[in-house]
C-alpha cells in the first residue's frame, strides 16, 4: 500500500524581551540556578502577574508577518497541572482567544530548478510562560529545580497539518526560524532552547480523506533531529499498521542516540487542564494605533525580499532563498550590491552562496562573524567584472581576505598588488610568452597541426603555467589560435 505522511508542527519560540512575561526578572540564559527567579516566578503566596507589553508586541509583530488576524481582545487562561518546575501549579497561556489566528508561511519544496512554493497555513499563535527546569542528574535520589526559565515568554506557533514529508516539515521549521529571527521576536538559538519543535505525525493510505491517528514528538531542538524523528516515526507507524496494529494517540520523545522515538504518555493519561480565564490578568486589548506603529516599523520580510531579488536581479529561486535565509545575510547581500552595482547582482549572489557560505560553514561561523565586509566583497566582484581578476585569482584574493584580513584592514587592490595576483591583460606580454612556449613545445605544435585538438589544450596549459595563472584564459586561447592559424 502507498502511504501518505501528514505533519503539523507546534513551535515554541522564546521571545526576545529582556524580562519575563509576568515579572521583572531577567530572561538571560545561563545564570546560576534560581538566581533569576523573583518572588513572582517562584509563586510566593500573594504575588500577582503583570503582563510584559514587549511580549504582546512580539505577538503582534509575528501576526503581521504571517498575514494573520490579530485578536483585538485576547485572553490569558490558566492551564492547571502539578509539576515541581511549575511553581503556581498552573501555566498562564492563551486557549480560546489567542493573540494570533490564521495566517500562513510559504516554503520551497524540492531542489534547484524543480523547487516549487508551497503555502503552509498557520492555525494560531499564543503567548504563554515557560516552566522551570527539573534537573535529574547531580542530586542522588532527588530532583533539582531551576526556576530561572520559569516565566520566560513564549509564542507558541501552531501550524495546520499541511506538511507531507519530513523534508517539508524541515523546510517549514527553517522558514519559521528565518522569519522569527528576521523580525526579531526570537533569537533562534536552538541549543539554548529558544526554538523548540513538537511534531504531530500521522500516516494514511494515499487517497484517504480522513487523517490517521497522530502521535506527537516532543521537544525537538535541531532541524536534523526533526527530520530523523519524523522519518523514524513514519516508518514505525507504517510498520505498526501493516502488522495489523492500530496507532494509539500518544506523546513520544525522540532519542538522538538511538534515532528512535519512545512513548511518553498515551491519550488516556492526558491531563484535564481545566482551562479558565486568569482572573489576575485583564483581557489584552490591541488598539489600531499600536498595531499601526508596529506595522510601520516592520522590516521588509524574507518572502517579499526573495520575490524582489528574483524579479529585479534575475536571481534563481534557489539563490534568492539562500540569500534570505537570514536577515544578516540578506543585508550583507544588499550592502555589497549597493557598492558593487546591481549589474553585478548575480556575481555577488554566486560569491555569497558559494565561497562565502562554504567558508562560513567550514569555520562554523555566522555571516555576522564573517572576516570580510561587504565593501571588500564588492571590490572583489568589481575586479572580476573589470577583468583584473580571473575567478581563480579572485579565489586567492578571497583566501587572503578571509584568513589575514580583518573587516576593515586589507583592501582588495592592496592584496592584488602585494601578492602580484593581477590578471595579465597586456597582450604584448602574453604574446611574448606564447612565442616562448611555442618554441619550447614544437611537438605539440606539430600534433595540433596534424589535427590533434588535445595538443592545443596542452599549449594553453603551458602558457597559463608560464604566467602563473595570471593570464586571461580567453585571451590566451584567442592569441594561440591566431598564432597557430
Amino acid at each position: 500500500m502507498q502511504w501518505e505522511t501528514v505533519i503539523g508542527l507546534e513551535v515554541h519560540t522564546q521571545l526576545t524581551t529582556k524580562s519575563k512575561i509576568f515579572s521583572g526578572a531577567s530572561t538571560a540564559f545561563g545564570a546560576e540556578p534560581n538566581s533569576q527567579a523573583c518572588q513572582v516566578d517562584i509563586a510566593l503566596p500573594g504575588v500577582l502577574p503583570v503582563l510584559n507589553k514587549g511580549a504582546v508586541e512580539c505577538g503582534i509583530r509575528f501576526g503581521l508577518a504571517i498575514g494573520a488576524k490579530l485578536n483585538r481582545v485576547n485572553v490569558f487562561d490558566r492551564k492547571n497541572y502539578f509539576y515541581p518546575d511549575l511553581p503556581k501549579g498552573y501555566q498562564i497561556s492563551q486557549f480560546p482567544l489567542p493573540i494570533v489566528e490564521g495566517g500562513s508561511l510559504d516554503i520551497q519544496v524540492g531542489e534547484g530548478d524543480k523547487a516549487v512554493t508551497k503555502t503552509i497555513r498557520i492555525t494560531r499563535a499564543h503567548l504563554e510562560e515557560d516552566a522551570g527546569k527539573s534537573l535529574h542528574e547531580d542530586f542522588h535520589g532527588m530532583t533539582g529545580i531551576d526556576l530561572n526559565r520559569a516565566g520566560t515568554p513564549l509564542l507558541e506557533i501552531v501550524s495546520e497539518p499541511d506538511m507531507r514529508s519530513a523534508a517539508e516539515a524541515v523546510a517549514y521549521a527553517k522558514a519559521l526560524h528565518t522569519l522569527v529571527t528576521w523580525i526579531g521576536t526570537c533569537d533562534g538559538n536552538m541549543q539554548e532552547g529558544s526554538f523548540r519543535v513538537d511534531a504531530n505525525v500521522s500516516v494514511r493510505p494515499v487517497g484517504q480523506q480522513e487523517f490517521g491517528t497522530r502521535r506527537e514528538i516532543k521537544n525537538l531542538n535541531s532541524f536534523r533531529f526533526l527530520e530523523q524523528a519524523i522519518n523514524y516515526e513514519v516508518r514505525w507507524q507504517i510498520e505498526q499498521i501493516e502488522d495489523g496494529h492500530k496507532i494509539q494517540q500518544a506523546t513520544v520523545l525522540f532519542d538522538p542516540d538511538t534515532g528512535e522515538t519512545r512513548m511518553m504518555r498515551t491519550k488516556e493519561d492526558a491531563h484535564d487542564y481545566r482551562y479558565f480565564p486568569d482572573p489576575d490578568l485583564l483581557p489584552v486589548k490591541l488598539d489600531d494605533d499600536w498595531i499601526d506603529r508596529i506595522q510601520a516599523a516592520m522590516p521588509e520580510l524574507p518572502g517579499a525580499m526573495r520575490a524582489r531579488f528574483q524579479r529585479d536581479y534575475g536571481l534563481s529561486a534557489y539563490d534568492a532563498l539562500g540569500l534570505t535565509s537570514q536577515r544578516e545575510m540578506a543585508t550583507f547581500f544588499t550592502d555589497t550590491l549597493a557598492l558593487a552595482g546591481e549589474a553585478n547582482a548575480k556575481l555577488v549572489a554566486n560569491w555569497l552562496q558559494g565561497e562565502v557560505s562554504a567558508s562560513l560553514n567550514r569555520d562554523e561561523k555566522d555571516i555576522t562573524q564573517a572576516p570580510i565586509a561587504p565593501a571588500q566583497l564588492a571590490d572583489l566582484v568589481k575586479r572580476i567584472a573589470d577583468g583584473t581578476l580571473s575567478n581563480k585569482l579572485a579565489k586567492q584574493v578571497f583566501e587572503v581576505l578571509w584568513t589575514e584580513g580583518d573587516q576593515h584592514g586589507h583592501s582588495v587592490d592592496a592584496i592584488i598588488e602585494a601578492k602580484g595576483l593581477k590578471q595579465m591583460s597586456d597582450s604584448g606580454e602574453i604574446e611574448r610568452i606564447i612565442d616562448e612556449v611555442l618554441a619550447q613545445n614544437q611537438k605539440n605544435v606539430e600534433e595540433f597541426k596534424a589535427g590533434k585538438e588535445k595538443a592545443f589544450n596542452a599549449l594553453v596549459g603551458q602558457v597559463m603555467k608560464a604566467t602563473k595563472g595570471k593570464a586571461n584564459p580567453a585571451q590566451v586561447n584567442e592569441l594561440l589560435k591566431r598564432k597557430l592559424a
Binding site: P45, F82, Y275, D280, L281
Partner: protein, 484 residues
Amino acid sequence: MTYHSLKQLAGQLATGKASSVELCQDYLARIQARNPDLNAFITVDAERTLAEARAADALRAAGNAGPLTGVPIAHKDIFCAEGWLTTCGSKMLYNFVSPYDAHVIEQFKKAGMPTLGKTNMDEFAMGSSNETSYYGPVKNPWDMARVPGGSSGGSAACVAAGLAPAATGTDTGGSIRQPAALCGITGLKPTYGVVSRYGMIAFASSLDQGGPMARSAEDCALLLNVMAGFDGRDSTSLEREQEDYARDLAKPLNGLRIGLPKEFFGEGLTGDTAKAVQEAIAQFKKLGATTVEVSLPNSGLSVAAYYVIAPAEASSNLSRFDGVRYGYRTPDYTDLTDMYEKTRAEGFGSEVKRRILIGTYVLSHGYYDAYYIQAQKLRRLIAQDFAEAYRQCDVILGPTAPTTAFKLGEKADDPVQMYLSDIYTIAVNLAGLPGMSLPCGFDGQGLPIGLQLIGDYFSEARMLNVAHQYQLATDWHQRTPGGF
C-alpha cells in the same frame, strides 16, 4: 484608651499625651491578657511591634508624622508582612515567614502605623465562623461560646474586645462585613480594584478585596485613606485619582435616597434583626433620607453563582501549596505524587479541601460550560440588577447577616447552612461593589446586629458619610462587650 477612636489616639500622639511605644505596650498587654481566651491573634511579636512604634515616634519627633503615625493596627494573617509568620490560618503555611510586604502592609508602614500582630482567620479565608482556622476558632467577645463570624473573625474580635483600635480584613463573599456585624464593629469592603491585592494571599482573585475594620465609619474612612491606591503589581488595581474618603463625612443626609431591596426584606428576615433594621431605616428618615423599594431579582442566585466561581478560582490559586518550595511538606513520602497527595491531604483542612474539590469539578472538561460559564452569566445579571437599582437610589440598605452570632459548632457540620450566612453579602462581591456593615442594635441575647450599606462603584465616601451621620445620631457602635 481601650476603646478610643483613631482620631482620639492620633490626638494623644500629636499632643504628646502618649507615645506610640506606650500605646503599643498597652495594647500588647491587653492582647497578652485576653488573647489566650479570645484566640484573635495567630502571631504576636512584641519586639517587632515596639521597634515599629519607636520608628513611628522618631518620625513624629522629626516632624514627619502623618495623620495616623504611631497608631497601631492588627493585620489579618492573609497579608504577607516581611519578617512575620504569615499562615493564612492554615497548617500549610505554619512555617512561612514572608520575605516581602503586601501593598497594604507597605501602605500602613509608610503611614507609620505599627503592626500589633497577625489576626486569626478561617483557613485561606474560607468560612463564615472562623472555625476552619488551623489555629483554633476565635471567640466572640460578646459571648465566648459563640463565633465571631468569618473569615476575618480575628480582626473583628480583636477590635470588638479592644485588643486593637483597628484591623485589616479581606472580603470575598462577606468576610469583612459578616464578622463586623457579628462582633458589633464597622467594616468596609471597597469597590473591587481600590485596594491592591498584591501580597494578599489569594482565595478567589476576582472577588477578593481588602478593607478596614474599626469602631466607626470615621475610623474606616481614615484607614481607607491609607489602604487604597493604585499598585502596578496588581493588574486589577484601578488607576484613579487619590481621594480623601473622609471628605464627605459631615454632609447632612437631606435628600439621600435609600434603596430597600424587597428580596432582602422577605421571609428570611425575622425577629430582632428585622426590627433593628427597620429602626435604622426610621432613623435615616429622621436624618432627612427617603426610601424607595428596589429589586435585585437575581440576588437569590448569588450564593449558587458564588459557590461555583469562588471554588473554581480557589482550586487553581491553592495549587501553589504543593510542598515543593515553602510551607508544609509531609515528612514521609515515596515519590513525587505521594509527596503531593500527603502534603495536601495533611496540610489543608476539610473546608479548603471541599472547595478545591468543588472548584476542580466545575472547571473539569464537560462541566465547565454548565457551571463556570453559567455562573459568570449570573454574575453579569446580578451586576445589572444593581445598576438598575442605582437609577432610583444612592445607597442600598439591608441586613448584613440573616442571624446574629451563632454558637461555636452549631453550623460547623452543615456547610450549606454556613454558606447561607453570607446570603446578603455575596452579591456585592459578585458585582464588585463597595459594601459596609455597621452596628444597628442588639438582639434579645445582647448580641450585636449589623446593618449593611451597599454603594455604587467608587461611592465609598458617600457610604461612609451615610454611616457616619447614622453613628452621630446613635451609639450602637460605642457599645462594648461586658468583661472587656
